[in-house]
Amino acid sequence: SGKKIVVGALRFTSHSGSFVAFERNYFAEAGLDVELKFFQAAQPMAVAIASGDVDYAVTAVSGGLISLADKGAIKVIGGALSEEAGIDGQKLLASDAAFKAGLTSPAQLGGKSFGVTQAGSSFHYMGSKVAQAEGVEMKFKPLQKVGAVIGALKSGQIDAWSIVPHIAKPLAGSGAVHIIGNISDYLPAYQVTTLFTSAKNAADEKGQTSDFVAGFSKGVADYNAAMIAKTGGDDGVNAMVDLIHKYVYADRPREKAAKSIINGTMRLNEGAKLNVASIADQLAWFQSEGLVGKDITLDTLLDTSYVNTFEA
């Protein structure tokens, strides 16, 4: 048996790389004895990596993550999900009320309120960049929980939000909200989520970390093949959905879950390749907002020795 490591995950489709690698024994083949540990939110997961309770995990770049990196606790070692032309990415949503009042494209976002979970979250970053690009000012409403944002949007108390497609599409389908744009139009190849670990693992456990990245990448490759390239046809999709359903929407019946899982399909980063330019842009934005220290460099945050990087 291999080395015992703990991998943190949220029950989202975007964490499928870990699920597939785990289920199909890619981690075991890489010599790792993996335990999956589930979280209700990304922030405690990042802290758990810092404290050494969890070894590897996937999460969005947030102010908290950068802060922890600044404290010398964690490193981003790869990419997990980035926006890509031609594939459904994060959507910009408008509430029904705002839509009817004329908010039909991102250009009309000026003076509107935009839902975020917290200041310094990825939602904040996205909204901010969209506003910047459109040359408008928006009000950001921190609501802490995704559920609270959904409620506020449905009841028209905030005007706009951005969210992953598998949440955006059913919401839009119900008629309570409307899709008014794509994030990828403003942030092409936006590095949405990243693979990260403790600074200690990145520096001192190079073998183990490489093994993990290898196993994880195989899982990602399988997922992309089945869900995007559809190399296995419908059977391949169904098999993959069955696998993911063990982890995501586990308490819903298969039929209902399958729809959501398929809706949530996005191409995960092959080989965990990382868009350094996007990370640099995000870091710069956090710094410009005064959310993290001005003296933090990209090197503090990144360890690019494990994966290929790209810039777009």
């Binding site: 029950r11 540990k37 589930f38 209700q40 404290s51 449905k154």
Partner: protein, 263 residues
């Protein structure tokens, strides 16, 4: 002289008597109102789920065995965390009640800890106690600790000093007095403090299960909330509420047994 006249009755009242069943009727009415409102569309589905749907969700939970799967870890956390918090809190409370220096040193500290919201400290709890059961126990223990301390030293303060003086006058040892007079005398106050502490423990379950919990009523509620799934949210909340009623009934039974000596 006028006729004899009966004396007018002017007593009574100001002593609410038990009316069995009224409580039930209120619950049934409220639920029926909600059902009618949601069925007729007068209450939008965003505002409130249909009670019947909540019941159905509850039924599914029960039948699929998921309820037990969520309840068992939650109950374990509740029992371990509350046992820790209450036992440490009671010990500290008794020490505060007995020793001047402990009182002077710890009472301000406890007063300062009381208004600290536990959820604010969540990120720290991960570092301090890890992401496994440790941090959940710690959070619940921390939340029950302060109210228990306050209730306990209040109860010790309220022990009839004339009983203590009686013990001294018969030459009882310090330890005998504490064991046989102070502790039993403080018991009613401690138990009624326990009611509040355990209600707080149940409330903190949700916060505790924000930290890396897969199963648990709190985790279930959080997940339902993050998907804005009101049926499941309410099913979870109702479970907690029932849990609270059960716990409070249990304490009532313990009180009845332990405090039989009272009126």
């Amino acid at each position: 002289m006028s006729d004899p006249q009966e004396v007018r009755f002017r007593g009574g009242g100001f002593a609410p008597t038990a009316r069995r069943g009224v409580g039930l009727v209120v619950f049934v009415l409220l639920i029926a109102l909600a059902e009618w409102g949601t069925q007729s569309g007068w209450i939008t589905p965003l505002t409130l789920p249909k009670p019947s749907d909540v019941l159905a969700t509850f039924g599914e939970l029960w039948q699929s065995g998921l309820l037990a799967k969520h309840l068992v870890p939650s109950l374990t956390r509740l029992v371990v965390g509350a046992a820790l918090g209450v036992s440490i809190g009671m010990s500290v409370g008794v020490l505060i009640g007995l020793f001047s220096y402990v009182r002077a040193g710890l009472v301000p500290l406890v007063a300062a800890l009381f208004p600290i919201p536990k959820i604010a400290l969540l990120p720290l709890f991960v570092i301090w106690f890890g992401i496994d059961e440790g941090s959940k126990y710690a959070l619940i223990a921390f939340g029950t600790f302060t109210p228990t301390v306050v209730a306990t030293y209040g109860a010790v303060d309220n022990v009839d000093r004339s009983l203590i003086r009686m013990g001294q006058s018969f030459g009882l040892s310090w330890w005998s007095i504490v064991r046989k007079i102070v502790l039993p005398g403080a018991m009613p106050g401690i138990l009624s403090g326990l009611r509040i502490s355990l209600a707080i423990a149940i409330i903190l379950l949700v916060a505790a299960e924000m930290l890396g919990a897969e199963y648990g009523i709190g985790a279930y509620i959080l997940q339902a909330g993050s998907l804005y799934d009101l049926e499941r949210l309410f099913a979870g909340v109702v479970t907690l509420s029932l849990l609270g009623v059960v716990v409070s009934t249990l304490i009532g039974l313990i009180e009845k047994r332990m405090l039989r000596w009272r009126a």
